[in-house]
């Protein structure tokens, strides 16, 4: 009898919760849950990545030695290129000074740590330790090592949800850097792909893919990845191609939110 009463109370509570959720009244509860549990979940998350990296390094020692030997020749060449680049940089600065260009960084970035991930294996999203009080807003772009990794979803006072571009439901307008063809970057279990490319555009292998400002959702020009395995599946209206990103989405630690 007591159990039944408790069950009825819980079900009523759930119905009320489902009804008030669209009005954002559950946000403070979610915010405080993230704040209270973030020391534990954040620590477990970061420690697991560190352990994974340790074992990964251990098992790839043999490959590292081979790569080290082949890198020595490349280092010498890069040193020489670096000298030439420094010279060009000096000339560039002189020209800017001449023409009085203002040197400003393009984006303002907010650094944040990942404190937890979505409980569901199919939804690729993470929670970060920055929220509305830090200037985070919905749909802001999120990058790691200069590449797009996701977009801000729900925002709470001290935390936010980031929907990763590898998510099944993610759609990012993008363009090919050389051929200038546009498309939509979609995620999923098979990885990232650029779809809806016009038929008259031929993507080249290793061609860079960047965000487009179509729809005014994301800033233009953020790198997403490169064309990999140009497997053009032709339907009546468009092509598609697989994308290779240098970002390891399962090993994200610190990410940056672009403050637009």
């Amino acid at each position: 009898m007591r159990n039944k009463r408790l069950l009825v109370i819980i079900i009523l509570f759930l119905i009320i919760g489902a009804l008030i959720n669209p009005f954002g009244l559950l946000k403070p509860i979610k915010n405080y849950t993230n704040v209270i549990t973030s020391p534990i979940t954040g620590e477990i998350y970061q420690t697991t990545i560190a352990v994974e990296n340790f074992f990964h390094t251990l098992f790839s020692l043999g490959n590292l030695i081979k790569e080290n030997n082949s890198s020595k020749g490349e280092i010498a060449k890069l040193k020489s290129d670096n000298i030439k680049l420094n010279e060009m940089k000096f000339e560039n600065n002189l020209l800017r000074e001449e023409l009085k260009f203002s040197q400003s960084t393009r984006f303002q970035l907010i650094a944040s740590n990942i404190i937890s991930k979505s409980p569901d294996g199919l939804i690729n999203s993470v929670t970060i330790n920055k929220g509305s009080k830090d200037g985070i807003k919905k749909d802001q772009a999120v990058i790691s090592q200069g590449f797009l990794v996701g977009r801000i979803g729900n925002v709470y006072k001290q935390s936010s949800e980031v929907s990763l571009i590898t998510s099944n439901i993610s759609k990012v307008p993008a363009y090919l850097q050389d051929s200038r063809g546009t498309g939509i970057v979609r995620g999923g279990l098979k990885g990232l792909s650029l779809e809806d490319i016009p038929l008259d555009v031929m993507p080249k292998k290793n061609e860079a893919i960047l965000t487009s400002d179509i729809g005014n959702i994301l800033p233009s020009g953020i790198p997403i990845g490169n064309v990999d395995e140009v497997s053009l599946t032709q339907n009546d209206l468009s092509h598609s191609a697989k994308i290779k990103s240098p970002i390891s989405f399962s090993h994200l630690e610190m990410i940056f939110v672009i403050k637009q």
């Binding site: 408790l6 759930l14 489902a18 990545i49 979505s118 294996g121």
Partner: protein, 156 residues
Amino acid sequence: MKNLKIYLTVLFFVLLQVSFVPHMKLFGYYPNLVLLLLISLLILKDFKSAILWLITGGLLLELFSHQFFGFYILQFILIYTLYWFVIKPYLHEPPYFLVLITYAITAILLGLYDSLILKHNFLSSLPVIVVYQSLAGFCIYYLMSKLRRKQISIIK
């Protein structure tokens, strides 16, 4: 006191689910250990009390969920209802192979649920979901059943 231990175990599994389990991704998928734990409790413990544990586990997951409120609770209630009407007669001290089949069926139902709600292509990930979820669930069930036998032998 006994029930408090169960609720604390559920809370522990929820914290693991959002911090540690995502690193156990295989072919882009990782299982829901909270649900698997609750199904183990459903089979091993009191079926009637299990609904409260399921709802508690669901509620705790909702706090970390990036979906609409009720995504996990609805999932858990649907599974409980199915178990109550269809599978319950076969779950009295079931053999291990039947437990494995139960987890496989649950994995298929979860895949269907996710495909309807998340508009995900269920068939492309079905083998991974079924195998991974079933094996993980069976491991949790095996551990819980060993613990239960140990508790019973201590009481005796």
